[in-house]
Amino acid sequence: MDLENWTPLTTQEIEKKFIGMINDYLKLNLEYPVDPNLSLKDLRLVGDTKVIEQLQDVDEESLEIIKKNFEIDSIDILELVIQIEEEFGVVIDDKDVATLLRWEDLIGYIADSQDPKKMKQK
């Protein structure tokens, strides 16, 4: 990697790249832009057309059960965090993970913390 000529990714570029990573990993169809208030746990709900179909015409109680069942689990969150660290050269402290579950917070954190020296070499 040419460190001298490296320029940080813009927020928009980070978002697009991250959406691609999530779609690959979770096999979803998330599209840009993503609601900044969205929680990472809800990504599958908004990115999976099959889940969305299930959400139609169901009562409130069933809706809650479906939402709960399709939340991204802690292992998936951890896998995404590992990919973020490798792709963007960011080191996310364990204690920060819980506070970065909101889309806007996470993208902002990545934008502020990019370090080319820590990026995965390809």
Binding site: I75, L78, E79, V81, I82, V91, D94
Partner: protein
């Protein structure tokens, strides 16, 4: 006792991805040990890889999970798998070591985290759970460790669970990807594998010097009669008996089975008695014979003592497909079932200078009669499994 049926089997090995055509073309397709191009093999010459995977994008880090994923797909395409089926599958020499090395480097490098998915997919304990997840099955998932006899011990476990009514169906097998330098090194240290000419596999031949490891695996769907009817399944074969024993003291060691042959013959006798078969009823004896110096000698002696006056051909399939380690027993049993189906038996591969002039160590393909054969499987630790299978 409930009869136990083999509905179908998926097999992936060094010959290819379709056992039915593999068997028919065995002598044409097999070229003996294949050279691995995945690693620098100069220090680990005796290796054999699964065709298709070797030339694909799959490297050692994900070949293990890829293999059990593909086998699951293959079995699913062949048969309806009841959702309450148990999954009993194991591996003991697989190359999850590659991921293990990454994990160790991460640990020593003080990295704060490591991908749990990589760990889970390469954990042989969780392999049965991964397969259950893939096939959406809810029966228990587990696996038995018994060295190179592991798959046959798994089959015994499933067989007895079905016979006793604990379960009604099971996906059973073993999957092995041992082509990794550290795995090769491990087996070199046991003096069990071939180091001559880049690795040669010549069961029952005077010029043998050890086994040749191979990637591969198998998954079978087995069940009771009620399940056959309920799901309208047509079985390929029946497991008449499967008997286990282990002896590794006095006349046996950790790596060599009972030199007197008594322990192995007792196990064969029990298997025949339970199957209600006589030696004369057996179409052929499918040997474990791996091409090791001591193992093949002991096994041939067992065969000749037990079947002294009976004209039964004796064949090992390892010269064609290599030694799939924990999976070998069931992978080769599937080949045995194909032999019965096709009513001819391929010869021992590359057997040019046999250790005995016994003509039953066949060197040419022969027609076979009957519907029943014996499979012998021997693993380190004196592990012995003898099964009697019958086609339907």
């Amino acid at each position: 006792m409930k009869p136990v049926y083999i509905v179908d089997y998926a097999v992936i090995d060094t010959i290819g991805f379709d056992i039915e055509s593999n068997y028919k073309n065995l002598t044409l397709l097999a070229k003996g040990p294949q050279t691995c191009t995945r690693y620098d093999v100069t220090e680990y010459p005796h290796i054999l890889c699964t065709k298709g995977y070797e030339i694909s994008q799959y490297d050692g880090r994900n070949i293990f999970s890829k293999l059990h994923n593909d086998l699951s797909d293959q079995l699913l395409s062949k048969a309806t798998i009841p959702s309450d089926s148990a999954v009993i599958v194991s591996a003991f020499a697989h190359s999850g070591n590659e991921v293990r090395n990454d994990f160790d480097n991460s640990f020593r490098g003080g990295m704060s985290r490591f991908s749990p998915t990589k760990l889970f997919l390469n954990n042989n304990d969780l392999m049965s759970a991964n397969i259950a997840k893939k096939l959406k099955l809810e029966g228990f998932s587990s696996g038995v460790m018994a060295a190179c006899s592991s798959s046959m011990f798994n089959l015994h476990y499933a067989f007895t669970c079905i016979q006793s009514g604990v379960i009604s169906s099971a996906v059973v097998g073993a999957i092995e990807t041992p082509i990794h330098p550290s795995v090769q090194y491990y087996w070199q240290c046991t003096s069990a594998i071939s180091t001559r000419d880049g690795g040669i596999c010549k069961p029952f031949d005077k010029n043998r010097d050890g086994f040749v490891q191979a990637e591969g695996g198998t998954l079978w769907l087995i069940c009771d009669e009620e399940t056959l009817k309920k799901y309208n399944l047509t079985p390929k074969a029946k497991i008449l008996s499967i008997v286990l024993s282990s002896k590794c003291y006095d006349t046996a060691t950790m790596t060599a089975h009972d030199k007197t042959g008594k322990s192995q013959i007792d196990t064969i006798n029990k298997a025949l008695t339970i199957a209600n078969k006589k030696s004369e009823d057996i179409a052929f004896f499918n040997a474990h014979a791996t091409s090791t110096l001591i193992g093949d000698d002991i096994e041939l002696d067992v065969f000749q003592q037990k079947f002294k006056d009976v004209d039964i051909p004796c064949v090992s399939f390892k010269g064609y497909i290599g030694h799939t380690m924990s999976a070998s027993g069931m992978v080769e049993s599937a080949y045995g079932l194909e032999a019965l189906k096709n009513q001819y038996l391929h010869p021992n591969y590359d057997l040019t200078d046999p250790i005995s002039d016994d003509p039953r160590l066949i060197t040419k393909a022969i027609p076979i009669k009957g519907d029943t054969f014996i499979k012998a499987s021997f693993g380190f630790g004196g592990r012995t499994a003898i099964a009697v299978f019958q086609t339907i």
